[in-house]
């Protein structure tokens, strides 16, 4: 990635959008649209990006955006792909953009249906780990132990973060991958790779949210990096549901999870026993992932 060679023309995101300062989701979409190029159609379900996209007559992206009802991202994407094909627009890439709510929770049925049908588009979930657009409520993507506005102290999110990648693997889709904003080259490579594959492709992007996570707006990239280097959010690909490959391995030993948690107010009052439990879970998941990678 030669930054010196980048220019404004290749960027699809306009300045002047109203994402919060330091928004990971804005960066996620900036990177993925830049990687995919201008011949795309975006299907956008209820999420922070519904607002970031702007209020008509304004728009924040240089491509068509079709807003759709909350649970329907996977289904509307199926429709748009087929509609474009009926009109002969076979080269246009359809990108379905949903938050964690529209992917893990209310949108899970549509996601599963579309994945099972191997619908030919790229489903991108930008995950800020809660219903942020409505003011930081718990979703099934919220990590264990975190505080939200529907699980305020002394309550906390019970239950682990839903493993959406395993769910996608179980559908045997041609391509699934995780990515995050601190590794833009990795993210863009994955999107470019996905663009060349036919069938259902799923990208899960961890997008830190400063107001929701209780972090400094300037820390977004730093946290995103830590999420990877602690093993909390490993960067890998799954091909056809069976072949797992690591794409970005942190150097040296994994950083203790506490370092990642301590910069975020949503984990601030997390009791030690829960921090340990979460560390164990992360360790366990890491081992399982390594096994899958090893045997692929």
């Amino acid at each position: 990635m030669r930054i010196e060679e980048m220019n404004r023309e290749s960027e699809m995101l306009y300045a002047g959008h109203n994402a919060c300062p330091g928004c990971g989701a804005a960066l996620s979409v900036r990177f993925l649209t830049r990687a995919l190029g201008s011949n795309i159609a975006v299907v956008l379900t209820a999420s922070c990006w519904s607002i970031i996209a702007g209020m008509p007559p304004l728009t924040a992206l240089k491509c068509p955006i079709l807003h759709c009802p909350f649970p329907s991202a996977g289904s509307v994407g199926s429709g748009v792909r087929r509609g474009l094909d009926a009109k002969g627009k076979h080269d246009t890439t359809v990108v379905v953009l949903a938050g964690d709510g529209g992917t893990f929770d209310i949108g899970l049925q549509a996601l599963s249906g579309a994945a099972q049908r191997n619908e030919d588009y790229i489903f991108v979930c930008y995950d800020n780990e809660a219903y942020m657009n409505t003011g930081m409520q718990t979703s099934s993507a919220t990590p264990f132990g975190a505080r939200t506005n529907t699980a305020p102290y002394p309550l906390f999110k019970e239950g682990q973060k839903k493993d959406i990648m395993q769910i996608m693997a179980a559908h045997s889709i041609p391509y699934a991958a995780t990515a995050t904003v601190a590794f833009p080259e990795d993210l863009e490579n994955k999107l470019k790779k996905a663009q060349e594959i036919k069938g259902f492709r799923f990208i899960h992007i961890l997008s830190p949210c400063p107001p929701g996570w209780g972090t400094e707006s300037g820390d977004t990239i730093h946290l995103s990096r830590l999420a990877v280097s602690t093993g909390f959010f490993p960067l890998y690909e799954i091909i056809n549901g069976v072949s797992w490959k690591m794409t970005c391995m942190p150097e040296g030993k994994r950083v203790p999870l506490k370092e990642y948690l301590m910069g975020q107010r949503r984990f601030k009052q997390m009791e030690d026993i829960r921090v340990d439990a979460l560390q164990e879970e992360v360790d366990h998941d890491w081992e399982m992932l390594m096994e899958k990678i090893g045997s692929s």
Partner: protein, 514 residues
Amino acid sequence: MLPEVTKDELLYSHGNEPSTINKTGEWRFLTPKRSEKLSPCRHGCLLNGEIPAWMEAVKQEKWDEAWQIMSRYNPFPALTGYTCFHPCTEECNRGQLDQVIDIPAMERTVGQWRLDNYRSEVRPQKNTGRVAVVGSGPAGMSCAYYLNEDGYDVTVFEREKVTGGMFALGIPEYRLPRRVLKRELSLLEDRGIKFTTGCNIGSDIPLAELYADFDQVFLSTGAWKPRLSGIKGEKSRGVWNALEFLSRINKGEQVEVADPVIVIGGGNAAVDSARSALRLKGVNHVSLIYRRSRAEMPAGQVEVEAAEHEGVELICNSLPREINTGGQSVSSIIFDHCRTNREGLVVDKSRSFRKSCGTIIMALGQEVDYSLFDTLKKSAVIFAGGDLISGPATVPEAINAGRIAAMAIKARIEGLPAPVLFKNEQIPVGFEELNLEAKLNLQLQNKQEDPSDEASRCLGCGTCNSCGICYLFCPDMAVDPVAGRFELNMDYCKGCGICFKECPSRALVMEGGR
């Protein structure tokens, strides 16, 4: 067949006007700003060169821009690229990550580009004044260059037949290729600088005459008087002083040298003499003998290692006591063991040895010949620089002196106040201050052959070197790439601080307000 669809704008909610009319810069309550901190390379540079700035130009292969930046402080990068001992490189923070940036190689590249591509034209004379420069070494060349740049009529007087001073006479060919020096000097002549060689100011032309003929004079005759050891037999046949030896070789003259050769001393001249002697026909064995330890040798380690690699025998902690002759010339020297302690040199005469030799080269350093000053009035205003003033020092210091002298001479002639020299008191940015998490521009880990690739390894400690990380990570499209650089756009910047946090060079600060 069917009636036309209503072309009503309000059919459904839609829009394609870019959101750029929304100036989100108004949200800010903290503003990122460029702040230049002192980079360690610049801190180490004896010329105060703007290294990160020209390194950035090299990265973008903008050779002319790199030259323009370099030449503000150093008009001879091709020469310094070969001869400076580059303290900048020692301080380079990159060395704490993998390998230091090869600044000398970058300097040579830009210097060579200039030599290859520049057609020097005669500088337009401003008829502001005529200046004489005495001595065509680094200091004199530098002063001449800067005065000429400002439109002055400059004449350089050189007592030798060849110009270049220490460049030409003191530094061997294998350290500074002669074609490079020749070209550099010819570029000076192309600019309209006049060189009068074979003219010894003092004997051929009295110094007072120069002061009468010219508006100002710059004295830069260097330090050529050899320092003597005072030991018995020093004046025997077969004993050379290093500078004389090197001079002769560099002038291409015949030098009678008998095997084996012993060089006494520990500085660059000693090492140069040893390596030069080894290259002479008939010389098979050269020893370099120094009174202190290897670590205490003033010569650059690279040079010492090169000498050893070439086969020079290095003997330390040995002080010469007596030179013996056999027949017409030297045959051997007696050395005593010595070491340094707090009080100074401790000589142990009980541990001594004799070494036979055919030639001895004394490289004990030089001294300044102040006799030139005797001819001047006590109250005269004198401009002088280089080794003449500082004693034996380095090439970059000489060049720097020449530049400062040019500024001072210009001020004097034009009746302006004397220039004030600025010394940057900042503490240079340390390695631990840098934010290397991004590592995106650090993919090229080890020294690269291609200058642009090598320059892209520069971390730009404390200064922006257009790595583009701010542009890459801005969620608000508030950084614009403009001609290879990156400008912050205050119309849209929300002040989130990601650029500040992620800048590997720490070249940004966050200030309160908008």
